[in-house]
């Protein structure tokens, strides 16, 4: 699937510092097949991925931070 066709998912994650956002980076890179941007200031992560929102949510939950799905974009 071309990158442009991949759905974009938005999540809100409670990140308080660089350390927290690097944990998010860690679990997502480990999952693979994702392109993402973490926005520490707004406590949001935008993910381009062919994985389902459920898979992404489960992956992000590994970090335990309070997190919620904001929807597809």
């Amino acid at each position: 699937m071309p990158a442009a066709a991949m759905p974009k998912h938005k999540f809100s994650i409670d990140m308080t510092c660089e350390g927290c956002s690097s944990l998010v980076t860690h679990v997502l890179s480990k999952l693979g097949g994702v392109q993402f941007e973490t926005d520490l200031l707004n406590k949001k992560v935008c993910i381009d991925s062919e994985h389902s929102a459920d898979t992404l949510l489960a992956t992000l939950k590994k970090n335990g931070n309070s997190i919620s799905y904001l929807g597809e974009k």
Partner: protein
């Protein structure tokens, strides 16, 4: 019940501490966990029939921290 102390590197703030406590306490066999940001470690009480220190260590590593078992 047994107790193990896991050294944890890479915690930067209190929410890291909370994340680890939350995730690890959800694991089967874990009775309690107390993580210290200052001491870079976590003290975990667990049921040896259900889990082991190696298991707990890799669960913490899975989250993105560097963990090691103290001798």
């Amino acid at each position: 019940t047994q107790v193990t102390v896991v050294n944890i590197e890479g915690m930067t703030c209190n929410s890291c501490v909370q994340s680890i406590e939350e995730v690890i306490s959800r694991k089967p066999g874990v009775k309690s966990i107390c993580v210290s940001l200052v001491n870079h470690n976590g003290t975990i009480k667990y049921d040896p029939l259900l889990t082991c220190p190696e298991d707990l260590k890799s669960a913490i590593e899975d989250m993105g921290f560097d963990a090691s078992l103290s001798a």
